[in-house]
């Protein structure tokens, strides 16, 4: 029997769980498990009312262990640890049991089976909790400095934003000059500001500030340490290596423009250009648009080049690049501003001038741009025409499938954004990469600029397509997030790390080799060589534990004893 006092809460999650799992039955099945003194169901355990109920029980019933059977710990582990903490219970006496993602949602067709599985899962959680001990988080003082990788508009703005709230910044740019893509832009949508001027303004501001250090031609070559206390090495101009000590790292490495492959919409033919190339031509044009000595009078835009690629394109970009509709429409307005005589035809699939960018579309329409919608299965064909022109044929859905032939001086491919080649950085920072190959945040709503690596943040277009202002917004969000950690002066790391039984350890060195985080080294204790765990470096992955021939290692919070007890709980046959 157990002398523990454990509270067990089984969540309905509205109906997310209780529509499939009989939560009352689960409660009945576990309420007499060893150590359980409170067992309840709750409509929304995570709601304030649910939390207050638990806090009341912990205090009134003097609970020393807590189990919440609800959703994935990814969502609410910290929520309930905080609840425990607020009630005066050690947060590591808490066990989250996932009966939603791993039970109700996966077994919507088998209510009885789901209920049985939930009972087993909750029993496992109770058994683990019976063996928990109070643990204390590892406090690490943070360095009030941030390394920002990439000095495009996002990186530059983030640097200033951080510096504004008293945080020193190292800004590392791979290229010779800071500024990224925006430095190459003239007029930008929707406010008509000049990209180059914006960058100049930001770069001047950065240079003015003593506590922002800008490195150009710099690349990150090494990173050790953990959140709040990173040691990063950068190499500048292929020679000098500089060691930096920072509390957080913001990745703002930007995007590459999609490069159409040979023959994609006639790319490679003279007169077929990408949107970026066209934008450069426009920015430098005064009055008439002249290309290679020839006036451009008829322009055809083909949208979604390199974006929204269907299943037929292998390794295609399934995603929408978000900015291109707006950018192409804006370019066409710019072209008409330069020369109102120019004829422009937009061949699109869905016109995604979202939000207030719809006004750009209205403006373009008013100024005489013509929009033709094509079916993704019948893309426009581009062939060489007479006199150096191009023939574009397209079946226009807006005129009910009429085949339209356009003689164009220029075909502009509205090319999307693709992720930058950054494999080295990915390896060094252990950055998570999504299915679209952009860097991935933990959660777009809960933790939109955080990665699974604590203290390493992402912003701007390295995370996914955005326009300039949106990149800046996300950069400032990353400022808030990193400042939220660094301004406090310390971070608390989870104490769920390996521990050494010094009596059993004979220091064979197996664990040191197995550790991927260089967290294990040798130390002398009373004349005996034993393994030492570096608290800040150990991630609690458990990789060392089965390696040890003497069973001298164990994982706090997930001890072998707890694991075995959980298995016993899972296997118990009584419902």
């Amino acid at each position: 029997m157990s002398d523990r006092r454990i509270g067990v809460y089984i969540c309905h999650c509205g109906g997310n769980i209780s529509d499939y799992v009989n939560v009352d039955k689960v409660k009945e099945a576990v309420q007499d498990e060893p150590g359980v003194v409170v067992a309840k169901t709750s409509m929304f355990t995570c709601s304030d009312a649910g939390q207050q109920d638990i806090i009341r029980d912990i205090k009134e019933q003097n609970l020393d262990g807590l189990v919440v059977a609800s959703c994935s710990p990814k969502l609410h582990l910290h929520t309930f640890r905080d609840v425990a903490k607020r009630a005066g219970l050690n947060p590591y006496q808490y066990t989250q049991v996932n009966i939603r993602e791993q039970c109700s949602w996966t077994h919507t067709d088998d209510h009885e089976g789901a209920t049985e599985k939930a009972i087993r899962l909750v029993r496992a959680g109770i058994n683990r909790t019976n063996l928990t001990e109070p643990l204390h988080s590892i406090k690490i003082n943070t360095v009030p400095k941030v390394l920002i990788i990439g000095a495009g508009i996002a990186g530059l703005r983030a640097a200033i934003g951080l510096n504004d709230i008293g945080i020193a910044v190292y800004l590392a740019e791979k290229e010779q000059e800071p500024g990224g893509w925006v430095a190459g832009f003239g007029k930008m949508y929707p406010h008509g500001r000049n990209g180059k001027e914006i960058i100049n303004q930001l770069v001047n501001e950065v240079k003015k500030r003593d506590s922002i250090t800008l490195f150009t031609q710099a690349e990150v070559i090494d990173k050790t340490g953990s959140v709040g206390d990173f040691r990063v090495k950068i190499r500048v101009r292929d020679q000098e290596e500089i060691a930096l000590h920072v509390g957080a790292i913001i990745t703002a490495t930007g995007f590459n423009a999609y490069k159409p492959h040979e023959d994609e919409y006639g790319y490679g033919m003279d007169g077929v250009v990408t949107l970026a190339e066209f934008k450069k031509l426009l920015d430098k044009s005064e009055g008439k648009i002249i290309r290679q000595g020839k006036e451009i009078k008829n322009v055809v835009y083909v949208y979604c080049v390199g974006s929204r690629q269907g299943d037929e394109a292998e390794d295609g970009n399934r995603y929408c690049s978000r900015y291109c509709c707006n950018a192409a429409v804006h370019s066409s307005i710019q072209a008409l501003e330069k020369n109102p005589q120019v004829h422009q035809y937009h061949l699109f699939r869905d016109m995604r001038t979202y939000g207030k960018f719809e006004l750009l579309l209205n403006d373009a329409l008013k100024r005489g741009s013509i929009f033709l919608k094509f079916d993704e299965n019948e893309p426009p064909q581009i062939t060489k025409g007479a006199n150096g022109t191009l023939n574009v044929t397209v079946k226009d859905l807006l005129t009910f499938g009429e085949e339209v032939e356009i003689e164009a001086d220029l075909v502009v491919l509205a090319t999307g954004m693709v992720p930058k080649e950054n494999q080295k950085l990915v390896d060094i920072l252990k950055l998570p990469v999504g299915r679209d190959r952009f860097f991935n945040e933990i959660h777009p709503k809960l933790r939109p600029v955080e990665t699974v690596v604590d203290g390493v943040y992402i912003c701007g277009t390295c995370q996914g397509p955005k326009n300039s202002a949106e990149s800046v917004a996300s950069a400032l969000a990353a400022v808030s997030q990193s400042a939220a950690i660094l301004k406090k002066g310390y971070v608390e790391l989870e104490p769920l790390i390996a521990m050494v039984n010094r009596e059993a350890c004979t220091w064979c060195g197996e664990c040191e080799t197995a550790c991927p985080y260089t967290a294990i080294s040798k130390e002398q204790v009373q004349g005996k060589e034993v393994a030492k765990i570096h608290e800040a470096l150990c991630k609690g992955c458990g990789g060392c534990i089965p390696i040890c021939p003497n069973h001298a290692l164990d994982l706090k919070g997930y001890t072998d004893g707890q694991m075995k007890a959980m298995i016993d709980g899972l296997l118990k046959e009584k419902f």
Binding site: C46, L476, A477, V479
Partner: protein, 905 residues
């Protein structure tokens, strides 16, 4: 308390800004106008493109916001004004609206909600279902505290001189809670049965329903309540108050004022003795009001409500010397001796036998004297209710002819129209613009009335046209009896040596406290007001009891006390009440005051009682003007005793360094597209309503169409409802509707695997990270996407809907399609909330009224006012991920601004 940053609005944007700033160590004040933080996101089902449960994402943020050590949250509060002060900071005035529930005591148990008797459309379910006036916003509310919605005092309750909660008992009757209704009336008046019959019901005159088909029969509902209660309770259910006080109180007069004062004093434990000059108690209830209007057993039963408390009534005792009472040990005296004197006409023959004052006439009849007027002719002089009463009594005593002479015309007659009507029905003749000038007779006995015709001249000071005699129009009537009913006045001569008396014989009192010039003597009722209504006298009686209690407790009667007595919220504007709904179902009042006309008029009660069905139907017509009816049920049922209906608005002024405006958006009102029939066709709903139908806290347990509860099989989505549409002055794209519709498609296909979903679109704007993939997934799951804007919708007899559209992808033919449920994907409009908050600076907005970002390229979230930032959809339609990033940007800059201003110091 001062703060670094004020965050206005606690939607996802506001919470994110506040949390980031709080984490950075800044002190933040969040002001939220609703009763819970969370904004609109918490009301959603799941959110795209990850299909996370909106609750799962919101609730931890909501709980963190409220519990964060650096964040204070004021819910149910509104920022009223922001001014930059000389120090460069912002001075913020916040109004905390009264919740009427002590939040420190409330445990969120919902007892009040479950017992509340008023249902109003639930704004958190977008009016698809009702909620109560006492409510907790939604199951995941943070804080989980109830609030009571009170727009003000309902006009009926507000106007009642006795403060009776007319709206309250009406609401209780509507819910079948008759005993509670009786007890509610008893809280203000012990004479429930008498008021239910003989009250002139000023409440009905104020009833907002009067502007529609006619007022609610509030008085008859009260009578129903009394009848129901008295049927089962021959004696009151209570006895002498447990609280015992030793200071004795004397009440002079057992009319409505005296009885009521005695009742409330006895409830407080005072030993009370009433001295009544007449042989039976009740005052005018007994002696003046004829029993066909107010049966005397009802008066008796009402009086038992008072005597059950131990009040002693000594009848046949006339008090002339108040000092005697003092000498007998009464430490306070309430004089409520009424108006038992009648004014004289001062004309010839007034002292002839057969000329009688109405009061004497009615008293004699009411106290059982055998009076017969068989075959007699009676002239009643006067036009008030007492005149009519006298005339109708005369008829009942067998008079062959009864004539009422009144010196003005019927329009000016003070008697209630229904009384006049009843009198006419009973054959009483009316001679308008006539007044007696002389009574003649022989042997001291009246034989003739000489009257003169009048005409109406110029209006007098009171605005009434003054009657002027027409020379030579005299005429004579042979009569047996004249009953004069030209005005009543108090008989206060005996009190004059002790008390101050006005020229009209009424007593002088402090109108606030009813205290006379002699501190231990209070006075009220008709003896103070002159002839008035029962309910007025009841109100005075209760007021006197309140202040006598204060007096006996040696408390000051001035100032606070006088104001605290009966605090009422301001009366609700009836125009606003009527404007709440576009139209109302017609509910005709229960047939008016049709009387029980027996063949031989006798003294049995004439007014038909309401049947239970009629009473509940009548109560069901109530428009709940004040929203909360003040029925007090929650007060009685709250286990935490947290209800405080006298709570008042609180004003708080704080100084903040920076402001973040995160006031969110308004949904496009779908009614502005009449061709889609929203509000007219029941099976046309908005996207927000569909989100509620799909959410874990959904109003029904499944998706069903509102018209008939059928599970829909073929659902249409109309994208761009109110967006990209210059016809409704909104050319913007709302940025979220495509995606929330796609999300709902997926959820519907999960919830209703057999249902077809068709989306009618212009462009599908799946532009964010993971959105295109999400859209393709919906297509793969089987959602149909049809390019074509819906031109119009028509409803069929079975509630299904025909949609008209141009099928663009298939040759552009104009097509019709039938669906059994239509979801309008309504867009987002600017919320006007923040625009006018700033006093000495202007918060600029764009042409669509969103807060303008003046430097979006470099400093998104920055507004036209230095130090003021905007977060989330307040600056333009944004989805949740974009709002969160934007809120982070606002937080970073607000922090920077706070740092910069600190540095300057």
């Amino acid at each position: 308390m001062n703060y670094d940053v004020l965050v206005i609005g606690s939607g996802i944007g506001g919470m994110e800004s506040a949390l980031k700033l709080g984490d950075m160590g800044y002190k933040v004040l969040v002001v939220e106008k609703e009763a819970s933080v969370g904004g609109k996101m918490i009301l959603l089902s799941k959110v795209f493109p990850t299909l996370d449960c909106a609750s799962c994402i919101s609730t931890p943020k909501m709980a963190s916001t409220i519990h964060h050590p650096n964040i204070d949250v004021m819910t149910y509060s509104e920022v009223k004004e922001i001014k930059r002060n000389k120090a460069g900071k912002f001075e913020v005035t916040v109004l905390k609206k009264p919740t009427f529930i002590n939040e420190n005591l409330c445990t969120g148990c919902r007892e009040c909600e479950m017992n509340c008797n008023v249902a109003v459309p639930d704004q958190f379910n977008f009016d698809m279902v009702a909620r109560r006036a006492a409510y907790i916003a939604f199951p995941q509310s943070v804080p989980k505290k109830a609030v009571i919605e009170r727009e003000g005092t309902s006009p009926c309750t507000y106007t009642c001189p006795a403060g009776i909660k007319a709206h309250g008992y009406t609401a209780l009757v509507r819910g079948g809670k008759y005993e509670e209704a009786f007890n509610l009336v008893l809280e203000n008046a012990p004479l429930v049965g008498s008021l239910g019959r003989a009250c002139y019901a000023p409440c009905e005159g104020e009833c907002a329903r009067g502007r529609l088909e006619g007022p609610i029969s509030i008085r008859r509902i009260k009578r129903f309540v009394a009848d129901e209660y008295y049927k089962d309770h021959v004696q009151p259910a209570y006895g002498v108050s447990e609280e015992r006080k030793d200071k004795k109180v004397a009440v002079v007069g057992s009319g409505p004022a005296g009885l009521t004062a005695a009742f409330f004093l006895a409830r407080k434990g005072y030993p009370v003795t009433i001295f009544e000059a007449a042989s039976e108690p009740g005052g005018m209830l007994r002696t003046a009001i004829p029993s066909y209007r107010l049966p005397k057993d009802v008066v008796d039963r009402d009086i038992r409500n008072v005597t059950a408390l131990g009040v002693e009534i000594k009848t046949g005792v006339r008090i002339d010397d108040l000092n005697e009472l003092k000498d007998q040990g009464y430490e306070a005296i309430f004089v409520a001796s009424g108006t038992h004197g009648t004014r004289k006409m001062e004309i010839e023959g007034e002292n002839l036998g057969g000329v009688i004052s109405c009061i004497d006439f009615l008293r004699e009849v009411n106290l059982g004297k055998d009076v017969s007027l068989k075959d007699k002719t009676v002239v009643v002089v006067g036009g008030g209710n007492v005149a009519i009463d006298s005339a109708r009594v005369a008829v009942r005593l067998g008079a062959k002819k009864v004539i009422v002479q009144y010196r003005r015309s019927r329009a000016e007659m003070p008697a209630h129209d229904w009384e006049i009507q009843a009198a006419e029905d009973e054959g009483i003749e009316f001679e308008y613009l006539s007044t007696p000038v002389k009574y003649t007779g022989s042997g001291g006995i009246l034989a003739q009335v000489e009257s003169i015709k009048m005409e109406l001249g110029e209006p007098d000071a009171g605005g009434r046209r003054k009657p002027v005699p027409v020379k030579g129009s005299e005429y004579r009537t042979e009569v047996d009896m004249v009953i004069t009913a030209i005005g009543l006045e108090p008989e206060t001569k005996a009190f004059q040596k002790l008390l101050q008396v006005n020229s009209n014989e009424t007593l002088v009192v402090n109108p606030e406290t009813l205290q006379t010039s002699v501190p231990h003597v209070f006075a009220g009722g008709d003896v103070v007001t002159g002839p008035s209504m029962i309910v007025e006298a009841v109100g005075q009686g209760r007021k006197a009891a309140f202040f006598i209690d204060c007096f006996l407790n040696d408390e000051s009667l001035e100032g606070v006390h006088a104001r605290e007595y009966e605090y009422k919220m301001p009366v609700v504007d009836k125009d606003k009440v009527i404007a709440r709904q576009q139209n109302y179902r017609k509910l005709i009042p229960v047939a008016n005051n049709k009387t029980l006309l027996s063949k031989d008029l006798d003294f049995t009660e004439t007014e038909l009682p309401l049947t239970e069905e009629e009473a509940r139907y009548s109560a069901g017509r109530c428009l709940d003007c004040g929203v909360c009816s003040e029925c007090q049920t929650c007060v009685h049922t709250c286990p935490a005793k947290a209800i405080d209906l006298s709570m008042k608005e609180e004003k708080k002024v704080v100084e903040v360094g920076s402001v973040i405006v995160s006031t969110g958006f308004n949904l496009f009102p779908a009614k502005l597209k009449p061709q889609y029939g929203y509000g007219k066709y029941k099976n046309v709903i908005t996207g927000m309503q569909m989100d509620r139908l799909l959410s874990p806290t959904r109003p029904y347990n499944t998706v069903l169409r509102p018209h008939d509860g059928k599970v829909p099989e073929n659902i249409a989505y109309v994208l761009c409802t109110g967006s990209r549409d210059q016809a409704v002055n909104n050319s913007l794209c709302s940025g979220v509707c495509c995606m929330y519709s796609v999300k709902q498609n997926q959820l519907i296909m999960g919830a209703l695997p057999l249902a077809d979903v068709t989306v009618y679109y212009i462009d599908v704007r799946a532009f964010g990270k993971g959105y295109e993939e999400f859209y393709q997934q919906a297509k793969d799951m089987g959602a149909n996407f049809v390019k074509g804007r819906i031109a119009g919708i028509r409803e069929k007899d079975d509630g299904n809907l025909t949609l008209f559209y141009e099928d663009i992808n298939n040759g552009g033919k104009v097509m019709e399609a039938e669906h059994d449920l239509v979801v309008l994907s309504v867009g987002l409009l600017a919320s006007p909330d923040a625009k006018n908050l700033f006093q000495n600076a202007s918060l600029e907005t764009d042409e669509h009224f969103f807060v303008k970002e003046i430097d979006e390229d470099i400093s998104p979230a920055r507004t036209s006012i230095e130090g003021v930032f905007v977060a989330g959809a307040a600056s333009g339609a944004k989805d949740i991920p974009d709002s969160i990033l934007h809120a982070g940007a606002a937080a970073a800059q607000a922090a920077a601004y706070v740092e910069r201003t600190r540095m300057k110091k």
